[in-house]
Symmetry: C3
Subunit: 293 residues, 3 copies
């Protein structure tokens, strides 16, 4: 595999193989077993041009667990402050000796550009409102560890779809694994042209869903929190009570508490949000191993 | 040992065992010997929500010398800037895969909260004006390497006791090791209710002391530097001359030069301030090993 | 070798030996071979008091490739913000356990001071307008990998010589390796007193040169970009066309595109700028190994 810019490059078999490997790695980590240091001596550069906790640390730990050297670029203290162009900064880090680059940027398409400029294996750590491939993969890992089979599961992707890079990847991954996706959002957050079923009526949809996937309102990228949104789309306790008894809740984080989800619901046993984070390192290990060898 | 939030949990025997182990590790480091990588494959997360040089780097190097992976959270570039709550940030880092968390925070009690939220082993790297356990331990290591026995030593803890997290730990550790403590400070910095002897007369006390432990005036936490304080409590050369010939000087750093201590005195052979810093890594290795296994 | 503060301490034989070792290490890295972990268990502290990408990451990766533990001081989040003096900060990090310090500072002479204060092996990562020894070494490595012999090569060092720490080292290294140096700059950027040939006429000089070494206009340190400079000294395509057919271009970076060099020229096959960066890690490995053992 030559980098991971978009999940659209991954067919169902590739997806399933990667999910399975990530899940095996998760089991190893839970048993405190050391994985094979497949990237020993290789160098993974983390280029996060946007703030991030979970994704940055998760890639960093994944790379270290594979034996790689990790370089982290902190844009604030780098030569970017000397007015160097993004391309020159990236080419410099490539020449310093990176074998793999993980790139997050507020603009769509930057990871693709980095791959073209450098010829290196690039993993998209989230670009603009475009894609966030490893998030969608770890979501699939979380689902595959919870359900016997993914085929036919009904998933509602709820909220700020317009500004969500997570949705950009998720809406390609879930159908390829046989899941049935419905977009649930106010009209202004529903894409004009989409192959998926859509609805603005969350309440009517709730009893139909196996998985309620809540998106973060992306206030950083133009998403606006309104009383009407909170009233009609927040997963609160009355709505939780109307979910199927075995239905689960996912959210890519960071949560806006009291917006997408009520506090008590985020903490409920139906929420697999912490499991999603736990699957981040093994999923990224599987990806880095696939692209870094 | 399940974390180290407060030294009050450590009895005299535990204290002595930990001091002895830290001292052996110090000897190994001085001989450039590699210690047993007891935390190989484990992950230590450094969560410093306040600026720090010596403590942060010291924990980082201690963890690396034990073979652990180290994650460092820089609050300024993390999702904290997306408005995530402290609890959510901490739970996320726990779920990413931390086995041990080292926590510094400007508020009392945060390390305890982190331990409750996560169930992980938490080491208090300094909280508010409450405690700074590893500082008190490394001070004890420094004393135990200098003196044959600690029993009966007379220690003056001098200065901004009110705002000092170091004092918060030290005043529990020293008596448990048999030392005799006197608090030396202006009236406004003496605690109203204390089991220790107190005095406002540093000059009268000086010839009685084996150890002069100078506290930093915590200007970050409300400590105010006054001419009267400098005049009556600065350890300057005339006061140094009146110390017992074998008495020593400690200070947890960073020093306010010309405030707690005169330049020439900080540099004198009576000052073990550099020794304190040197004992930081082996002391934190002993603590991390005790809590991380 | 006890540190590397200035290239003036290195005789021709020492220079040649270090260049040869760096070049062998470069070959190893290109073959993805693991070098001998000569600094296993040692600690290299990176103290960069100025923004830097290539130099900081390059030292960091060099140290890691040699098996060292790396501590990086980010001045913005350190106790420097508590008003601690530079000397106290440095002595603290030394006492924490650094074996080697890499120091970059905006003032001339700080690395020398750090060496005197600590007694440690110090590598100058660039100080003020004084020196940048590892840059000059990696430039020499780049030249030695391109040309069969360095003796007699004619090198033009072009531009902001006054504010350039790179020139401060380069102008000592090149002649010791038998190269013939001419300084090419507007009058105000030519040093008043120099043993080197000088000219203000870049166009007349171009056809004579084997190597065109373009310096960055150091806008951070008082260098001013003027239309007249760009018109008379920018290496653009017409000037490139007048270079000797086998002549090459070097630049220490970061490039001010459209100032020292035209975009198309920076990208041309005559430019070895990327090679310079690639030689950064093996050169710094050679230096760290020489000073860290």
């Amino acid at each position: 595999m030559k980098g991971l810019i978009t999940v659209r490059d991954l067919g169902p078999d590739q997806l399933r193989a990667m999910i399975e490997e990530a899940s095996l790695l998760r089991d190893m980590l839970d048993r405190h077993e050391e994985p094979d240091p497949a990237l020993q001596g290789r160098c993974v550069a983390n280029l996060f041009f946007e703030p991030s906790t979970r994704t940055r640390l998760s890639f960093e730990l994944a790379a270290k667990r594979l034996g790689a050297h990790v370089l982290t670029l902190n844009p604030a203290t780098s030569s970017a402050s000397k007015g160097e162009s993004l391309r020159d900064t990236v080419l410099t880090i490539a020449a310093v000796g990176a074998d793999v680059m993980v790139v997050r940027h507020l603009e769509d398409g930057v990871p693709q550009s980095v791959a073209e400029w450098t010829g290196l294996a690039v993993v998209n750590g989230g670009d603009g409102t475009h894609e966030h491939p490893t998030q969608a993969l770890l979501d699939a890992v979380t689902l595959s560890r919870h359900y016997e089979g993914l085929e036919g599961l009904r998933v509602g992707v709820v909220g700020d779809i317009t500004h969500s890079r997570v949705a950009g990847s998720l809406l390609h991954v879930l159908p390829r694994l046989g899941m049935d996706v419905t977009l649930v959002a106010p009209t202004n957050w529903l894409p004009a042209d989409t192959p998926h079923q859509t609805t603005t009526d969350f309440d009517a949809m709730i009893p139909e869903l196996d998985v309620v996937y809540l998106l973060r309102v992306q206030t950083e990228r133009g998403g606006r929190i309104t009383d009407s949104y909170v009233g009609n789309f927040q997963l609160d306790e009355p709505r939780l009570a109307r979910m199927r008894p075995d239905a689960i809740i996912l959210h890519p984080g960071p949560i806006n508490r009291g917006v997408e989800i009520a506090d008590e619901v985020a903490e409920s046993s139906r929420s697999l949000i912490t499991e999603q984070v736990r699957n981040g390192v093994p999923t990224r290990m599987a990806v880095l191993r696939a692209v870094g060898l």
